[in-house]
Amino acid sequence: MTEYTLKNGIKCIWLSDFYQPVLTVTLQVPRGKHCDPETLEGTAELAVSLMEKGPASLSGEDFVERLENSGATLFADVKEEYIIIGIRLLQRAADEIIPLFWEMICSPAFDIKEFNRLKKEMITGLQAEFSDPSTLAGKHFSAELFGSSHPAGRMHSIESVKRITLQNVKDFFTSCVAPGGCQMIVAGAMKTDDMRKKWETLFESWNRESKEVQTRYEPLPYLIENRIRIIDKSEYSQTTLILGHQCINELHEQKVSLAIANYILGAGNFSSRLMKRIRTEAGRTYSIASMLSCRKNYGVFSIGTSTQNNQLKTVLNSVLDVYNTFVNEGATDSEIDKAKQFAAGNMAFELEGLNNVVEKLLWMRFFGRDNSYIESYESLIDPVNAASLKKALHEHMRFTNFVIIAVGKKNDILDQMESFGRVTCFNYRSNPLTA
């Protein structure tokens, strides 16, 4: 593996792997959904979808045919803080496909017909989400926790997507998708020197300035009361629940302690306290898990589950009891040891196969971590003990108030939810931010 910065600012990793005769090229652009212009949420996703329709020199149809005829597959993922665009292909197709892929990155066609089609597709997808209780709960959770002044609180809606024009997409591309600050990994069945010789000049031919992106946000105000929403879905026999609060960012020094704590509380599947209490012992849910989502500049802790309408209050009380006990008392040495063993053992799976290695490397570099992060991972988690874990819990998790979202039949669950505080009810079609 060799790593250096190209003349145009792309930090490039060349990684040889001869296990199979394949190659991947993956570009990470350090700007994502959070760069959507206000009221035009969804622009980043539309821009990337439209880029995938190919370069100006080919019709969308011809482009996809050329890729698929050679067996190549495009992939893309638009995250909050970055965008991934890549291609997987057979090594033998590299000479034809990689220049085509790069042309797509440098000068996408942005065809109006494709734009209209993709916009319609996106709106239809958003309509379909009205029947997905987890998605509804997640959107309302973000809107309630962050509000419209924080980019994490603004998510695309039918209204915002309808407002987006082709010019908005082009503007986003011009200002946000540029080589400066990008990471790229070229990996697969070639010697690194050969890869460089073949494609370095091509990759350096992309030149464009990018705009400065605001990545620091004001900290959220502390929750002074439970902020509760019911999203009314009158057909549902079961309520989907999300509750949580703000938390630390990825680079915080106590992140490792809280990740271990999160495993013990709710991320550790059947080893977690929440799963044990709510599913294994009480049988009141099929699934329950907690999640610690840490970005560069903020983080969120949440717990998600579902249960039949008539036992919602019981389940919510149990969840809060497990949470409070854990946050106040901390974990046992045995629980911490097991969580650390999981973290250490699981690293092998995170690095299984070319795609996983590429994904992990890009994630690490985005947060400024070099390869020593993997090599010394065990020494990173090793110092976590009962005292440090409890300290982290007390400093960052001891919340008495939460954002609580329940998606279910209002008539069945309103009384139950009111015992936790004042409830605001929403129609499921409402925009989570503007309703």
């Binding site: 296990y19 199979q20 005769p21 394949v22 996809v64 045919e65 698929e68 005829n69 050679s70 067996g71 190549a72 597959t73 057979l90 017909k113 209209n116 089609r117 319609k120 709106i123 239809t124 309509q127 379909a128 009205f130 029947s131 209780p133 039918i158 309808k162 057909e235 549902y236 026999s237 079961q238 599947n269 059947f270 080893s271 599913r279 294994t280 012992e281 009480a282 049988g283 009141r284 849910t285 099929y286 579902s306 039949q308 097991k338 063993q341 999981f342 973290a343 250490a344 053992g345 699981n346 690293m347 092998a348 799976f349 690095l351 299984e352 196969g353 070319l354 795609n355 996983n356 079609r429």
Partner: protein, 432 residues
């Protein structure tokens, strides 16, 4: 690499299939039992899935949920699923823990405990799972569709079962079901990953599974192919996007026609170069998305096509457009270019699949039980080379018959008036 797969049958009938792969220090261990919802009858609909849950609730040497906890605690992961023809238990762990997993799987194969109190709690979990599924309006409508499609056939009821049976089936029925079906001669153990060597692996397997007695499960069920006529169904659902689904009876997965039909399905309905996407989505702008899959099971299957469209579009037009594309393929077949594309896409997918021990384990196990021989999956690329276009036309004519077509139209209960008007205006306005 796949030519190094080895197989061995122990004296008690347990078939062991293994593939050594040492690019990552992990190993996947899966046990596939030849039993699923196919083997159920009225009164115990859902029992295979219930037993799958109880397999995590303890055995002679393992406490309730300890199996999953021990796997998690060393950085691994485990799961299970129940299908029509098979129930599968899957574990992936760092390589040094291979023996622990074999021991855990062997213990629950020979000595599962079905405790009434634990079963009553797990029953509640299963009821919750049932409701989670039923809160999805499209999935719920599809369950109804399959009961019509597979009328009077064991595939009629999904592995999810019936709620009344889930709520009432006694634990004794589970015990009987376990005794009948969970024996080594009715199972396949698949191990893929970084283990020492085949002999050492077989030694460990023999050590832990070798003393489990054979059972007397009779897996050869009398199977009558489902009777099919043409059916058209319309259901109003709580889903804002109208959907048309067209299904044709397809052959058992071991049939010689299965591969040609899979290829036809790819060309017709998978990816942006497929006929449906190019014609219905791109050219005619009738649908927002269109796709399809050949859902092939051990004894029968369904070759499906679907399209999602906006409420201002006539479902009749969408349905006609799907039918027209199928008719064109039935009459004219496919091009050499399309055939080449299928080969290349399949090859690329296969190359990337080879990186994952868990995925390989799953493909081998599934193919061994559902196709009847894992080699059918292994030699798919070679078989593709020998397929010719005439064979594909014959297959399309044989299975995509108008008189055996099932259609399901999912109509939204409520139409969002704003979206309807926006869609209508867009349709009337001149296109760019």
């Amino acid at each position: 690499m796949l030519d190094t797969i080895t197989e061995k049958i122990l004296n008690n009938g347990l078939k062991v299939i293994s593939l050594k792969k040492n690019d990552t220090p992990v190993v996947s261990v899966q046990v596939w039992y030849k039993v699923g919802s196919l083997n159920e009858h009225d009164g115990i609909r859902g029992v295979s899935h219930m037993l799958e849950h109880m397999m995590f609730r303890g055995s002679a040497k393992v406490a309730s949920e300890e199996h999953a906890q021990r796997i998690n605690d060393i950085g691994g992961h485990c799961n299970a699923f129940t299908m029509e023809d098979v129930t599968s238990y899957q574990n992936s762990v760092p390589k040094e823990h291979l023996e622990m997993v074999l021991e855990l799987e062997a213990d629950r194969m020979k000595s599962l405990r079905i405790d009434k109190a634990l079963f009553d709690t797990e029953r509640k979990v299963l009821v919750e799972e049932y409701h989670t599924y039923m809160n999805n309006p499209v999935a719920k409508a599809f369950l109804e569709f399959r009961t019509v499609f597979y009328k009077d056939h064991p595939y009629q009821i999904s592995p999810l079962g019936r709620i009344e049976d889930i709520q009432s089936v006694p634990e004794t029925a589970l015990r009987d079901y376990y005794t009948r079906w969970y024996s080594p001669d009715n199972a396949v153990l698949v191990v893929v990953g970084d283990f020492e060597g085949c002999d050492a692996l077989l030694g460990l397997v023999q050590k832990h599974f070798g003393d489990i007695p054979s059972g007397n499960s009779n897996t050869a069920l009398p199977m009558i192919p489902p009777e099919h006529g043409s059916v058209w169904m319309k259901r109003r659902v709580d889903f804002d996007v109208p959907i048309i689904l067209v299904g044709y009876p397809s052959p058992a997965s071991a049939s010689e026609d299965a591969l040609p039909l899979d290829i036809l399905q790819m060309i017709t309905s998978q990816g942006e170069t497929s006929r449906l996407h190019k014609e219905i989505v791109r050219k005619q702008s009738l649908a927002v998305m269109a796709g399809g899959i050949n859902h092939s099971l051990k004894h029968a299957g369904m070759s499906m096509f679907f399209a999602a469209f906006t409420p201002d579009t006539s479902y009749k037009k969408v349905e006609s457009a799907i039918n027209a594309q199928i008719e064109i393929i039935r009459k004219n077949g496919i091009s050499d270019k399309e055939m080449e594309r299928v080969k290349n896409v399949t090859l690329t997918n296969r190359m990337f699949e080879l990186y994952s021990a868990e995925y390989l384990c799953q493909r081998i196990g599934y193919s061994e039980i559902v196709d009847g021989d894992y080699k059918i999956w292994v030699r798919k690329l070679e078989d593709l080379e020998t397929l010719n276009r005439d064979r594909l036309v014959e297959t399309a004519e044989k299975y995509w018959k108008e008189e055996k077509k099932y259609t399901l139209y999912l109509k939204p209960k409520k139409i969002n008036p704003v979206l309807y008007i926006v869609g209508l205006v867009r349709r009337i306005m001149p296109k760019h």
